[in-house]
């Protein structure tokens, strides 16, 4: 293990930290609508989702062979740039979580890496045509496809079941939601845990600790699976609230239609080689399901803020990643340590800020808004 330098160790820890934020940022994709409709209790939902994420991490053997799927030149990437990119991705994930905005963890990772490589190796290290092809096109197309599918499915589900016993309908679709949400979680584990495994494995290869073309060692698979599973279990309640309650008021047939649409879009595109953001697919589905039920309320303000977050995710993470890369580039190990400490401090500030108006399992369904400050107390007796 003498190949594991200080920098490599820091990269591994940072990659696992990113995996953890990836987990709690994306719990909502699979579980938000199930929690909102009461198909699953909040705690049960995150437990199921966490376990399925770990299972998914172990199931898939097709580890990402490139760090980024070709959007940066992998031969120019050094562990220091990976570290800087990961810092950018983690900080952006935390900021959007604080605001309760479902932004894409994959875009944050890509953005962080693009920024870090741009600063570290120059702009020719970034393949901008690939960025358009792998990031922009799916980002526009996938939520629309998922949204249209969920809209049509929701409309038909309500039309067909209009004259049936409503309690049977609600109960039936709730049961269906458990299955469809579980499938989203499993697919998430096989995809997103893979990304972290790929990053760690490629770092180890570049440091000479593993041979070329080596698969991930068991401890990497285990660590990545547990990190994303724990993150998922912690539950990004702020984002769950936005996706389950904020975008639209979701009933169980809508939840089922939305989750089915998400699962189908994710699986079809993975099968045909499109990289896409689970978050954006799930959000598109929820909006579609909201529109599919007549008179259902879609909060366009929330949707607008969410789309804005999608647009600025990649550039923002790139900015932070680039900034971190310039410090690491000129500062060496000391610079790395400084960036790590600054990132930890910022993360602590964000977590502290979230405490001012916490969203937890027991209050996730109470409101539809995620505020930074406690709203003026409307009902007496709920002080503190």
């Amino acid at each position: 293990m003498d190949h594991i330098t200080f920098l490599v160790a820091v990269v591994i820890v940072t990659a696992l930290a990113f995996d953890f934020t990836n987990g709690f940022h994306d719990t909502a994709n699979a579980m938000a609508t199930s929690i909102a409709t009461g198909a699953l209790k909040p705690r049960t939902a995150v437990l199921v989702s966490g376990i399925l994420n770990i299972v998914g991490a172990f199931l898939s053997t097709e580890v990402a062979k490139t760090i980024s799927g070709g959007i940066v030149d992998d031969t120019r990437v050094s562990p220091a740039m990976i570290f800087a990119g990961l810092v950018g991705a983690i900080l952006w994930n935390l900021v959007t979580w604080l605001a309760g905005l479902p932004s894409s963890s994959s875009h944050a990772l890509f953005g962080g890496l693009i920024g870090a490589v741009w600063v570290g190796a120059g702009s020719h290290g970034v393949h901008f045509d690939k960025v358009a092809e792998k990031v922009l096109i799916p980002a526009v197309a996938s939520p629309v496809v998922a949204g249209v599918a969920a809209l049509v499915a929701t409309y038909l589900a309500y039309k067909l079941s209009a004259r049936a016993r409503q309690d049977s309908v609600t109960k039936g679709f709730r049961l269906g939601q458990i299955a469809s949400a579980s499938l989203v979680s499993l697919a998430h584990g096989t995809n997103d845990a893979q990304k972290t495994m790929g990053v760690i494995t490629l770092t180890l290869i570049s440091a000479g600790a593993l041979g070329h073309d080596a698969g991930p060692p068991v401890w990497v698979i285990g660590a990545a699976g547990v990190a994303i599973g724990l993150g998922t279990y912690l539950g990004g309640w702020r984002i769950i609230r936005t996706m389950g309650k904020g975008l639209a008021e979701i009933q169980s047939p809508q939840g089922f239609a939305a989750e089915t649409a998400s699962t189908t879009v994710i699986l079809t595109s993975a099968h045909l080689g499109f990289a896409l953001s689970t978050t954006q697919v799930a959000s598109g589905s929820i909006l579609g399901a909201g529109l599919g039920r007549r008179l259902a309320e879609v909060r366009w303000g929330v949707a607008g803020r969410m789309v804005l977050a999608w647009l600025i995710t990649l550039p923002s993470a790139a900015l932070v990643g680039g900034l971190a890369a310039s410090v690491v580039k000129h500062g060496g190990n000391a610079g790395t340590a400084v960036i790590a400490l600054v990132a930890l401090a910022l993360a602590a500030v964000i977590v502290a800020a979230s405490r001012r108006n916490p969203v937890r399992a027991d209050n996730v369904n109470d409101h539809h808004e995620v505020n930074l400050r406690n709203p003026a107390p409307t009902n007496v007796g709920t002080a503190a």
Binding site: V145, R165, G176, A179, L183, T264, L267, T268, H271
Partner: protein, 74 residues
């Protein structure tokens, strides 16, 4: 920039088709369930059969989904 429109079109068509099919079949299953649970209608066994058949079809789609997720099966 190269955009693979045919693959994109395939994703869109397959996603729309499968989603709508699963949700419609599942809805028929729920309708069967609702008939089975309705009191004194006399169509309870037929409703149960309809529900079982529809849910079985959905379960088959789920199984295929798991098959797609797990690379060991390929």
């Amino acid at each position: 920039m190269h955009v693979d429109w045919s693959a994109l079109g395939k994703v869109a068509a397959v996603s729309l088709g499968v989603t709508v099919a699963v949700v419609v079949v599942f809805t028929f299953g729920v309708l069967g369930l609702s008939r089975a649970e309705a009191d004194g209608s006399g169509s309870a066994p037929a409703g149960r059969a309809q529900a079982a058949l529809c849910f079985l079809a959905c379960a088959a789609v789920v199984a295929y989904g798991i098959y797609l997720i797990v690379p060991q099966f390929h």
